[in-house]
Amino acid sequence: MSLTLLHPLPTPDPTLFPSLCEPLEEAAAAEPADAAAALAFALGRLAGPKDARPVVLVTTGLWLRERGRPFARGLAGWGLGPERLIWIRAEREAEALWALEEALKSGAVAGGLASVEAPPFVATRRLDFAARAGGALGVLLRAGPTGDLSAARRRWRIKAGPSATHDFDPAAPGRVRLNAELVRRRDGPPGAWALEQDDETGRLRLVAGLAGHGLDETDRQFAAAASAAA
């Protein structure tokens, strides 16, 4: 019997959840009702790097009327303090794309997200360049999954999932869980992950398996294989 059974932590495997952000990513809600989950996922991507610079949220008038306005007290729970938030309340989509591009390339912000319906390919390409020029991360928030052309390096599809069991009250919603599907990516094969909100940091982490913290499917297969070998 070998001792490799206790595989401690996720190894740097390309199929693990990519925690590092590409310059431009796209987070689409699997259904329009999942917009809040997609927003939370996008915030998680932006709040990721250790960076004290602010983060811009760009909304269009349409999105604002349809989905509501960002609520800073709630956003603070996702690892983005209000001192880092800047909200740009653009009316039209062209303005939103322009504002995000300006913000990303200014070098003054750590990242930005914009809610857009149908950004032209050229605009996404510009955003990609702007993000790399300014050392920032950009996330495009889409209301629904689309197959159009985009320069985003990773295209996510986010779906809200039933929350975890509450520690003390089984009738109450517990930790937020959502399913992130990586539909397209340049740096590896697509994949899907079940994520949940970490109590401490407010960021998203892999849903823990039966035994272990933050293990994903691969790790469970690994553990299963190891136990089978034993």
Partner: protein
């Protein structure tokens, strides 16, 4: 042909060489408000009844006076006159004698001396179709009198020679009301010089009430014994640079060429005093005697030429209406504030940029999208969600953190106006088992609550509110909502049933 709609109806031009008057409605019927030279030569006067004037001149052409438009035109002219002096005041004290005061203290040499300045000013006005009389004197009151009663179109009173210059002018030059003028005439005091030798106490005593005092005061103002402060139309900016053109500039490219030098010079002035601009104005002086301008506001003081230029371009140089061309361009910092000097830290040079870069970014966004578009959160000590936070105009300073940590209990999206939902509950005042929102039915799987928020009766201006019970509910698809019931069953407003609303959406 269809008649075209125009916001300002065009009036046919007054006839050349014929008497022409503007009339206004007075207490005693129509009176003459303004007259051209021919009408004055025919013996008509301001304030005369229109019927009398028509009796004297049967073919008198007249049009209604529009005094508010006159004032607008005068204000426009005052802006244009800022090319000569930063301090221009509108003078409407004496009806019928409206004009402009330009404070040229220490500025005449820039235009080649006082006489050259007056010729320049009058020439430009004449080219724009405005016949004008201009005068220059040590005091505003003296200049006022000389311009109107000296009979010369351009008149410069020698410095210190006010007494001689004014002595032959009629007493009307003192800007007195009609009653005082009539009395002075009755005493045989026709020219200002006649008043010089009269004993002042006696002069003031001759008139009843305040009039006597006014005569002495006006005389002192004209001779410079009493100061007469001007009230400029716009406060003079402390920092301004301008450049005149030999030939009128008629396109944006020309403006763009001159902008960098102006910005450079302005930033030079600003940084010499350690200050930065907070509000910028680019003014173009048009050949037709009008001005065209654009303004840009900055979120933090800045004195970087590239930033100022970029901001003005963002604001849209094409918004300048050049008309037939502009012959001077002025860039001014209407508001300037001390620029915080930042010390470079040896090893953290990279960290220097963000605060300035952020201010520059906010400026650009505000210039293009509007000032109210860029916002940062600010918190109020209130539990009512709508009142507990506001998004205020962004500045480069980070806002204060919230006074309590309830982030996990609050949604990330809040509806500006809560939307009504229809609910089905097992108990009247319990958690709903189902609810319909936006025409879709949702089954509640998990719920937490209530979180009871009472009405904030102490909040000024707040509508009387009912108690709200907030619930965090999750539906069968794992989507989480923030519902609330307004009103308590049987306890508040018995005649009005409690209603259910959705306040926001959790992630």
């Amino acid at each position: 042909m269809r008649p075209t709609a125009s916001s300002q109806p065009q009036r046919p031009p007054p006839p050349e060489g014929a008497p022409f008057v503007l009339i206004e409605k007075g207490v005693h019927g129509l009176t003459l408000h303004a007259l051209n030279a021919e009408a004055r030569a025919a013996g008509l006067w301001r304030g005369q009844a229109h019927a009398d004037a028509c009796a004297m001149l049967p073919h008198l052409v007249s049009a209604p006076a529009e005094q508010d438009r006159d004032l607008v035109a005068l204000k426009r002219l005052a802006l244009w006159a800022e090319r000569f002096s930063p301090s221009v005041a509108i003078d409407t004290l004496a009806p019928g004698f409206e004009g402009l005061f330009l404070d040229m203290t220490g500025g005449a040499h820039l235009f080649g001396g006082e006489a050259a300045l007056l010729a320049n000013l009058r020439g430009r006005l004449a080219r724009a179709g405005i016949p004008a009389h201009v005068a220059m004197a040590d005091t505003p009151a003296a200049a006022w009198a000389l311009a109107r009663f000296s009979g010369e179109a351009e008149r410069v009173a020698r410095a210190g020679g006010l007494r001689e210059a004014l002595s032959d002018l009629p007493v009307e030059g003192l800007r007195l009301e009609a009653k005082a003028l009539a009395l002075l005439k009755k005493f045989g005091l026709k020219s200002i010089g006649d008043l010089y030798d009269l004993p002042r106490a006696g002069l003031a005593r001759r008139f009843r009430g305040e009039i006597g005092f006014r005569v002495v005061e006006r005389l002192d103002q004209a001779l410079g014994f009493t100061p007469e402060p001007l009230d400029p139309e716009r406060p003079a900016p402390s920092y301004r640079v301008w450049t005149p053109f030999a030939e009128p500039v008629i396109d944006m490219a020309g403006v763009g060429v001159h902008l960098p030098a102006l910005a450079e010079a302005l930033c030079g002035q600003l940084s010499r005093d350690g200050r930065g601009a907070r509000r910028l104005r680019l003014t173009g002086f048009r050949v037709d005697g009008r001005v065209t301008l654009i303004e840009a506001a900055l979120s933090a003081p800045a004195a970087t030429p590239a930033h100022l230029i970029r901001l003005l371009r963002e604001k849209g140089l094409e918004k300048l209406d050049l008309g037939f061309g502009i012959d001077a361009l002025m860039l001014s910092a209407e508001k300037a504030e001390a620029l915080d000097a930042r010390q470079m830290e040896m090893d953290e040079a990279a960290d220097l940029a963000p605060p300035q870069a952020l201010a520059a970014l906010i400026d650009r966004l505000q210039a293009r999208l509007g000032e109210s578009v860029v916002r940062r959160p600010s918190f109020r000590e209130s539990w009512v969600p709508e009142r507990s936070e506001a998004w205020t105009l962004a500045g480069p300073q980070a806002p204060a953190p919230p006074e309590r940590d309830d982030a996990r209990l609050r949604p990330i999206l809040l509806f500006e106006a809560p939307e009504p939902v229809q609910t089905l509950a097992e108990l009247p005042d319990g958690v709903p088992a189902r609810f319909i929102w936006r025409r879709a039915a949702r089954r509640v799987v998990k719920a937490e609550g209530p979180e009871r928020l009472g009405a904030e009766w102490w909040a000024l201006g707040a509508r009387p509110q009912r108690t709200r019970d907030y619930y965090r509910v999750e539906d069968e698809n794992g989507r989480r909502y923030w519902l609330y019931r307004e009103g308590l069953y049987g306890r508040e407003d018995a005649d009005r049933a409690p209603s259910w609303w959705i306040a926001g959406v959790f992630a």
